[in-house]
């Protein structure tokens, strides 16, 4: 029987490469319709992401590679990017260049052309080139480079069609590319000799001329490959030759920049003197030696204050709403079995509702963080805090990971991949859980709002932030000296141009977090609420203290009592390990009283001092389950998450004890 099915689409495999922060993810999102996280500080895409797009009978399988400045073997991202191109051999490599920083960006392009000639250049950010006074002529550039050059403004989705067309032409071989050759000058004879020596060798399918070049550059990965693939004799001959050319790496880098200068001389015009840009003017103030730090502090105080201010009334409104919903449910479902009504009105609604009332805080905090990130200020924050971070043996980039953690520790820990040095990464991962994430801040804000009147509450919240920062510095200092001594890693970071934040990016960024939060509410927290309800309702007919949960609480009591907690609060901390929001859900279930909001019941059950101790403890006591999981996967061992859990428990217990005992001695409790 003849098969009538349409011919399957021809698959073209496309890799998207480029320096950090040049718009790769933006372009990837437009092409594939996926929502990758986009922002304006170098190094957000830390894993490769895959997506597909269909066009004119072709299926383009796109890979968003992490941003890299070069293709050496000095960082995990660079190895990921170059191994993909070398070993998976995509049909087309799209190199995205930032037109406003074209010279430096071309360094990656040259290196990519050393690897493969199936390259298409996406010349992005054409709208910003003018700001620098650059006049770029894409056709002339195309002539000079010898591969298709597509001018783009990805933020406005301009140039994407032309890019797709070029990808298909190169991917199908309709258009052959002929990259401008690179002349390695003084190193040419050595390269030729190396290639001769490599002739006929099995190099795991990698091109000999590239291996020769990397040998000259002293590439560690290639040295390892050498050991696997070459006979000892050949290796010794090669090393003897390389020893005569100590300056190999410098000559190669020089040749690449010479190539770039030639290409740019043909393809663009630059002003003799760099023009003073908007970015220069802002940087003049925000990186000022005296003003920089106060401005940074000011910005963050504003962000947190506004978040708190705007979200508090909304949160309370939602909380009260859920209390009424639960009361209404009890009445409306009166004809159903009583356990079912109780599950709904005492378990699910107060539990999930209590957590959903965080929505405003989380939304607004992420909106502000996204705004700061998209504008380009984050990189300046790293510059300004570099000196302070040195006290912990970290540098400014580590500050960015801590900032992200104010939203959520999970992305905060993932962001530590921008740190090149293993020791720095570990340290930044270990102190990360001390930064109170939005969920913990929301629990804290709920308590503080309930127990302290308005001007006082702002002060308390401020001190909580200050306390957590103090703990970060303290723990960082100790860990750095005791657990992870070692050399300081170099600080080198690009400062991008400031850009007007983009509404679409912000919406995607915030929306993404929101969905993650709602998913958590619908799964972990719903399950926890039901579990807590079950544990607190059985054995059937028992009074609350005699239920399973009550008994568990009493087991914890010897410790909890020292800090003034009643058993319900101990249980709430226990369940908070699943997700920090859960502790509020637990309290909502355990303190649930007909028709009263949680605020009212809490007020009758504890003193402000105990509430404060509870807030401090829940801010510090243990990384949540998701954070522990990501710590384990990022460090590849259970040791470090366990260390983090141990030290945070000790820290929280110690502080809780101290505050409660001192407070009571002062007659506050």
């Amino acid at each position: 029987m003849e098969r009538e099915a349409k011919a399957p689409p021809k698959v073209i495999r496309v890799a998207l490469a480029g320096n950090p922060n040049v718009g790769k993810s933006t372009i990837f999102n437009i092409l594939t319709g996926l929502h990758q996280h986009v922002g304006n500080w170098p190094g957000k895409t830390v894993e490769r992401k895959e997506g597909a797009c269909r066009l004119e009978g072709y299926l383009l399988q796109c890979m968003d590679l992490p941003g890299t400045y070069s293709l050496t073997a000095h960082s995990a991202e660079e190895i990921v990017a170059r191994d993909y191109v070398l070993r998976e051999r995509p049909d087309v490599v799209v190199v995205i260049l930032d037109a406003s920083n074209i010279e430096r960006n071309c360094y990656l392009l040259v290196q990519m052309l050393e690897l493969t000639d199936r390259v298409v250049v996406g010349l992005n950010m054409m709208d910003l080139a003018g700001v620098k006074g650059y006049r770029i002529f894409p056709e002339k550039l195309e002539q000079a480079v010898g591969v298709p050059v597509v001018p783009m403004v990805a933020r406005k989705a301009q140039g994407c069609q032309a890019l797709l067309k070029a990808i298909i032409e190169v991917g199908t071989g309709q258009r052959t590319t002929s990259p401008r050759p690179i002349h390695y000058g003084a190193a040419e004879p050595t390269l030729a000799r190396l290639k001769e020596m490599l002739e006929g060798e099995q190099l795991e399918g990698l091109p000999a001329h590239w291996i020769a070049l990397k040998m000259l550059e002293g590439d560690e990965e290639v040295e390892r490959l050498e050991e696997r693939a070459l006979a000892r004799e050949t290796r010794e001959r090669i090393h003897a030759l390389l020893r005569q050319h100590e300056h190999g790496p410098a000559v190669v880098a020089d040749a690449r920049y010479a190539w770039i200068e030639e290409v740019l001389a043909e393809g663009m015009e630059r002003p003799a003197r760099s023009v003073i840009t908007f970015t220069d003017r802002i940087d003049h103030v925000v990186t000022h030696r005296f003003l920089g730090l106060p401005i940074l502090l000011g910005i963050f105080v504003c962000v947190f204050w506004l978040t708190f201010k705007v979200s508090a009334p909304l949160s309370h409104l939602m909380d009260a709403g859920f209390a009424r919903l639960s009361a209404w449910t009890a009445g409306a479902f009166a004809s159903y079995p009583s356990w079912f009504v109780s599950l709904l009105s005492d378990g699910v609604i107060p539990g999930v509702g209590g957590v959903l009332s965080f929505l405003p805080i989380i939304l607004i905090l992420f909106l502000f963080l996204g705004l700061l990130e998209d504008s380009g200020y984050m990189a300046r924050a790293a510059f300004v805090t570099d000196r302070i971070m040195h006290a912990m043996g970290l540098h400014g980039k580590a500050f960015l990971c801590l900032l992200v953690a104010y939203g959520c520790n999970v992305p905060g820990i993932m962001a530590t991949r921008i740190l090149e040095n293993e020791r720095d990464r570990l340290l930044a991962i270990l102190i990360n859980p001390l930064i109170p994430c939005a969920a913990r801040i929301a629990v804290a804000a709920f308590f503080v709002g309930a127990f302290f009147p308005s001007p006082q509450s702002t002060l308390v919240m401020g001190s909580l932030y200050a306390l957590s920062l103090l703990m970060v510095v303290f723990v960082g200092f100790v860990l750095r000296r005791v657990v992870l001594p070692g050399e300081e890693a170099p600080f080198m970071m690009e400062l991008p141009l400031y850009r007007a934040p983009n509404a679409r990016n912000l919406a995607v960024y915030t929306g993404w977090r929101l969905v993650a939060f709602l998913k958590k509410a619908a799964t972990v927290i719903l399950a926890a609420s039901v579990l807590i309800w079950v544990l607190s309702s059985f054995p059937a007919g028992a009074d609350l203290p005699d239920t399973y949960l009550g008994r568990l609480g009493f087991l914890l009591q010897p410790v909890g009592r020292l800090m003034g907690f009643d058993w319900r609060m101990s249980v709430a901390l226990l369940t908070g390990f699943a997700a920090k929001e859960t502790s509020l859900a637990t309290l909502a279930v355990l303190y649930h009283a007909e028709g009263e909001s949680l605020v009212q019941t809490l007020h009758q059950s504890m003193t402000p001092l105990v509430a404060l101790v509870f807030v401090v403890v829940q801010l510090l006591y243990i990384p949540c389950l998701a954070t522990v999981a990501v710590m384990r996967s990022e460090t590849n061992s259970w040791k470090w998450p366990l260390v983090a859990m141990a030290y945070s428990l000790l820290l929280a217990g110690g502080l809780g004890l101290l505050i409660f005992q001192v407070g009571r001695a002062l007659g506050l409790g």
């Binding site: 406003s100 430096r104 990656l108 790496p249 880098a253 790293a382 600080f491 080198m492 690009e494």
Partner: protein
């Protein structure tokens, strides 16, 4: 590898903001040199110091991009200052 100091060469950290200079040599470490190369700084590159507060990191402009460098890193870059008038390019 010994770096032969040219008479006028000095460390990048001793330049004042606004001063232009040509990179002469980069000291210590293959990896460090390669990373700087990727960020646009190799011997021969023209740079302008944008920020140098006498302590803490510095900001330099090189090849049209701006870069924050830790003080320790900047100290390892030997430069030759250029008077603001007669530079060639």
């Amino acid at each position: 590898m010994a770096v032969v100091k040219k008479p006028d060469s000095m460390s990048l950290v001793s330049l004042a903001p606004g001063q232009r200079a040509r990179v002469e040599a980069i000291c210590c470490g293959h990896g460090f040199r390669m990373r700087l190369a990727a960020l646009g700084i190799i011997p021969g590159t023209l740079i302008t110091v944008l920020r140098n507060a006498g302590a803490g990191p510095v900001i330099v402009e090189a090849r049209g991009g701006r870069l924050a460098l830790g003080r320790g890193q900047a100290a390892r870059i030997e430069v030759q200052p250029i008077s603001s008038e007669g530079e060639g390019g």
